[in-house]
Symmetry: C2
Subunit: 613 residues, 2 copies
């Protein structure tokens, strides 16, 4: 028994020798394989360390596991890594992707046609005593004939070039990005070489990677995961505070997300047989700084000046993308400390910057960002909405993954709810939170001030709803959304503040721009919850002004889609860099009017106007 | 005794624990500190491993050492590392510099005034809510105000930038080279920052590094050494053959010379207190390829196409310069497989490319390179002269260092010779070889066909010379230059072929250019032996045509001086890149006329025309 080898296999052909005295979770943490969080600290209650385990000497499911795992999960072989000790050779599938529900479409196409990454096939004739040109000069002259003059050719790509000989011609493909050679490959036997871009929407909470066929404008695969940096803080500010403690911490933060991106890209590469020839990564300025190992301290405090905002053309080796050291990497332009390339991507995707009529982009992620205007000018601002709409800070909140309550309904005097993937309810995601809040307001269970009414004040409430009024562990009023899942007085306050931050910002922006809601022809609503959001609920809780009813367009992940557009069209990429100088940024943090607008928006809209579906 | 620590100190504060059972030479080899050659293989006969040793438990001088070391060397503490075993703590001074004789001037100035490396001092105001520009944008806008727009700013220099805060202004110095930021430093308290360039003449045999004050155009220090790559072959072709065997060998070759350059720069830095802010390295194309770790195989065989010729702007980390990873590095343009930046530097230094009259540049290093023409056009060629004039392939040949016979004279019927540093003669350097050859021809000891006459044919020879006619170990005729130092029939043949290669090339070049020797207003003679060369001897052996008598200008190390010019004036650097396209290259290796001219030049000029000083 003592000679038994304890080998843990994970990922694509990776393995290590583990310690059977420690739980699988501890072993994974020790090796740095596990980068996700485990809020319960390994007590088996949060269920975030679910893994599929095969092989090895596995103990039977514990009580805790039986409680935490759905029948579907048990069937698929899920276990809780934090409770599991095993022996011998085991194979793990990490649930790191948490795919499925996060992704709305695996396949879609966008128009491009002029990608910033170009492939140029060259044939360099053999040398002779009449043509003794050195390899690089001969290559440059062929490239100039192909329309690429004065290429910036990094030495790391010059050194491995084959030497010209007198015998045969050299046939090479240059990959060119922004006037710079980023790769030299053998030329394909025939036709154009395939070109793939890995476009990343790097969110504070979630990360999505789209593999895009740059020749055809088609998204061929998608993978999503929770941002591994959450282990160093769920919110932006605690991650910045960690990173500003020193160079080592910054390197660690860059390493966490860089290696996660590399693993995600590997996952697609194995599935599809194509590696990304290019990465284009959009995110908020903090995530971009933390990815690049840059000091984000300027963002955290007034006057909120970041280190960089311009478009960066890098390569994987500049950051921390293992296995992609030579792969070119574009970080498109950001606007300010809080308006990142994710928002500029959204502006490009909606096309609001070229429209005659005024439109409003509302991006609800961990923060709330807004852009208002038309082709004559855009005004942007950021408000500290907090991550309530992503499920954070909400007692039963969770990301939009399997088992999250995504909708509640009141139809035919009957209450019902829906979960993602129809799995047993384990929490509430953003759309569910907004639906519940809307229902509570609509039925008068919560009043405009955000107060849960006492039972005696709710004499007229239908019995089906009354039965759901409970008291939480703190003695506060709460609403039972689903078995064991409550939405409490505290949760109402979180939503109330978040939505006041946004509604207040809309008011301030309109005033600064000198227009009214009636002038806004369209409200683009972007964010993780995207397509599942019900306009009617968003309007009921005052997240979107009632005056905009019928003019709301849910655009989903506009950061990712705008990123794909930039990867497909170099003019869009260049336009983002222009927008960084054209869009005015309104700093709300010390804006007098905004403080007033925020307080005014603290009151929920009066009910009754909007029928709840 | 067994607990005694055996520590060897060398270089600047470097040390390692050595094995007292092995000789110092073996210990140095084991550690890779010793990169020079030791032709005798550690037998104590070649004397190339001389070191100054201090401290430790040193045995007395051996017989061998007494024979190999000059009294001057013994006085200074020199020992032969290959014979020496010691114990305890010792300090070594390696003779790696072999300074002194190689260097003609430590201090000289050249005119420049517009160096390619610029220092730009910036003051970036503190951030405020009215000025939230990111650090990089604010810095770029200040730089643009200083005349530097659209700077290429590498990510490795962006990442460590300090963040703007609301408190104080940032004061920074940017070092800018060719539109690219190459360093960011704190701004000096007052005045302009000092800027130093390390200009390298990278020869096949010798390496010279000049530290140049770029603000004042002054050479402040110089260090010279034998090229450490000699351990992998004395001549270019055997080094190329070694390098083309694979990536590892190329890396090794780059590593040898790169770490040698770094050590030389360190030596000056410690002496002067200034580190080089820039390196500019001129050399023949093979040395440049081998420095850069590039595959030189194209140079070794027809059609002689190298991998690169253009000006390269690199940094130390692209090559193998330990401690100078971030230091910018310029490799100026080369012309062909055999005409390197050393020759283009010579063209710039002599100014021949801008003169109305025709001039001829003759650079005699390990190979022979020639450039002929005027401002309307230049024609260059390379001939396989071999390294005879550098002392290689000559039985008693050696580099121009202390103890080398540099001149022989016949005055007042008396023979005499001079050695470098007036030390006892240990061999013959290039100028000595030419002087001896000239004397032998002048006195009829050797005839025009290169044959040593038999004693009976030399009845009229003065007794002082006759006494010097000896027979070497092979039974061949020889001339006793100094005690134990002979110049043999074989040596005559070496010189005969070398000078024929050059004289033949001059004839071919003139014919191609359609001019005669009379049209050549000046012959610039460059090469290691530089200033010591006697025009009269060079003409006597036919190295320079007699018709050019009085028009020869010895320019010394024109490669180093032209390199200094390029480091001081970006227009000269740009001009080298233009010259690479403007100068025509004449390939002699298969040129019919040249073969004829070479054979014709095999006969030495008839004597009697030129009196020998």
């Amino acid at each position: 028994m003592s000679s038994m080898e304890h080998i843990l296999h994970w990922g694509e052909g990776q393995s290590f020798s583990y310690d059977p005295q420690r739980t699988l979770y501890q072993n994974l943490m020790d090796r740095g394989v596990w980068t996700g969080d485990a809020p319960c600290g390994g007590k088996g209650t949060c269920g975030k360390c679910k893994v599929i385990v095969e092989g090895g000497n596995l103990p039977p499911l514990t009580e805790r596991e039986l409680r935490s795992l759905t029948p579907h999960e048990r069937e698929r072989g899920y276990r809780l890594a934090c409770l599991l000790r095993t022996e011998g050779e085991v194979t793990l599938s990490l649930r790191r992707g948490e795919e499925g529900a996060l992704i709305q479409q695996d396949h879609f196409s966008l128009e491009g046609g002029d990608p910033p990454l170009k492939a140029l096939i060259l044939t360099i004739p053999p040398a002779s005593l009449e043509d003794q040109r050195d390899t690089l000069t001969a290559l440059r002259e062929e490239a100039a004939r192909g329309g690429f003059d004065h290429l910036d050719f990094p030495f790391s790509l010059i050194a491995p070039l084959p030497c010209r000989t007198g015998e045969e011609a050299l046939r090479l493909t240059l990959l060119i990005l922004n006037g710079r050679v980023v790769a030299v490959k053998p030329a394909p036997a025939q036709g154009e070489p395939p070109l793939y871009g890995g476009v990343v929407d790097l969110g504070t909470t979630t990360v999505v990677l789209y593999l895009v066929d740059l020749n055809r404008g088609e998204v061929v695969d998608t993978v999503a995961a929770m941002n591994g940096q959450r282990a160093r803080g769920g919110d932006v500010i605690s991650r910045i505070e960690y990173a500003e403690q020193g160079e080592d911490n910054r390197r660690e933060m860059g390493n966490i997300i860089g290696s996660q991106l590399a693993r995600m890209a590997d996952e697609i590469a194995i599935r599809q047989g194509f590696r990304a020839d290019l990465f284009l990564i959009c995110g908020n300025p903090s995530m971009i700084h933390l990815l690049a190992g840059l000091n984000p301290s300027g963002i955290a405090r007034a006057p909120f000046a970041p280190l960089i905002s311009e478009t960066l053309f890098l390569k994987g080796g500049d950051l921390f993308l293992p296995g992609y050291e030579e792969t070119p990497l574009i970080l498109p332009a950001c606007l300010s400390g809080y308006i990142g390339s994710d928002i500029l991507a959204g502006v490009l995707f909606t096309g609001m910057e070229s429209r005659e009529e005024h439109t409003l982009l509302l991006d609800l992620g961990t923060n709330g960002e807004l852009v208002l205007g038309n082709r004559e000018g855009l005004l942007a601002c950021s408000c500290a909405a907090g991550p309530a709409f992503e499920g954070a800070n909400i007692s039963a909140g969770m990301a939009g993954v399997a088992g999250a309550v995504s909708h509640v309904e009141w139809e035919g005097e009957e209450y019902s709810y829906k979960t993602i993937a129809s799995e047993p309810a384990v929490g509430l995601c953003g759309t569910g939170i907004i639906d519940v809040m809307a229902l509570l307001l609509e039925k008068g269970i919560v009043d405009e001030t955000g107060r849960f009414l006492e039972e005696e004040e709710l004499a007229d409430l239908p019995e089906d709803l009354r039965a759901r009024l409970v008291t939480d562990g703190n003695g506060d009023r709460a609403f039972l959304v689903a078995p064991h899942i409550t939405f409490t007085q505290r949760d109402v306050r979180e939503v109330q503040m978040a939505r006041a931050a946004i509604a207040g910002a809309v008011t301030t922006l309109l005033r600064e721009r000198g227009i009214s809601l009636e002038d806004v022809s369209r409200v683009y609503l972007a964010g993780g919850f995207g397509f599942w959001l019900r306009e009617v609920s968003a309007i009921r809780i005052g997240l979107i002004p009632g005056a905009c009813a019928g003019r709301v367009e849910v655009v989903g992940n506009s950061s990712g889609k705008g990123g794909i557009l930039m990867a497909l069209d170099r003019h869009k990429l260049a336009r983002a860099e222009e927008l960084r100088r054209e869009i005015s940024y309104l700093e709300l943090s010390c804006h007098r009017d905004y403080q007033n607008d925020y307080i005014m928006a603290m009151t929920f809209p009066e009910g009754g106007e909007i029928p709840l579906g």
